[in-house]
């Protein structure tokens, strides 16, 4: 950690890269993980029910 790796032009420091990534996680994952919309779960249920109604292997 004490030695600083050389960076190419246009590259941000590893610290800045890490902080950007951490905040991207907050930005995109927090709200997306909160609750799956009921409509989406209903869609999955409907698709599974449709599959269950068909004979296995029949496609």
């Amino acid at each position: 950690m004490s030695s600083k790796p050389t960076r190419r032009a246009g590259e941000v420091s590893p610290e800045v890269a890490k902080q950007i990534d951490e905040n991207l996680k907050h930005l995109y994952m927090k709200d997306a993980s909160e609750e799956i919309p009921a409509s989406l779960m209903q869609l999955l249920d409907a698709l599974r029910a449709k599959d269950a109604a068909a004979k296995p292997g029949e496609k």
Partner: protein, 191 residues
Amino acid sequence: MNIVNSDVVPMDPREEIVTHLPSLRAYARGLTGNVSAADDLVQETVLKAWTKFAQFHAGTNLRAWLFTIMRNTFLSARRKGAKEVADSEGTFAAKLASKPDHDGRLALQELMVAMNQLPIEQREALILVGALGFSIDEAAETCGCAPGTIKSRVNRGRHALAEMLHLNSEEQIMSTDSAVSTVMAGTPTGL
């Protein structure tokens, strides 16, 4: 190129798909910049995936497979002009702004606006690798390009964000008076 993990007993993709919904939603939000368009995109992706499960080979990386379907669906719609692509002032940003409970939330809105100004290739590479923790190889498989291309897009995307948010040097992270400094300095409390 397919990433196959032979050490893991494959689940039925029809069951496993549920575990990928949060990250699919996150990717969709990054692509569309819009909450409702993102959820529509997730639904379309699920429907398409379901019709293609017969072609899915057990042991294939389901996550990358699903993300590729989502990406292709989005890009196809974008080419047809059927969807708004980026919405820097749109509903996702508005949702963030509607909860001004701490500086971190406001800073995230700045980050969102900055992200939506990036070219789609850089934005998706940053979301996949930075936000969702994809490996470079997995992101490359998802985007159908070389790993070096993903690395380059991630680097250019981070650089552009750092420029827009005035985070060009490590010294500036703590000194900027922007609200971004709060969130960039560490995990906001209360999250």
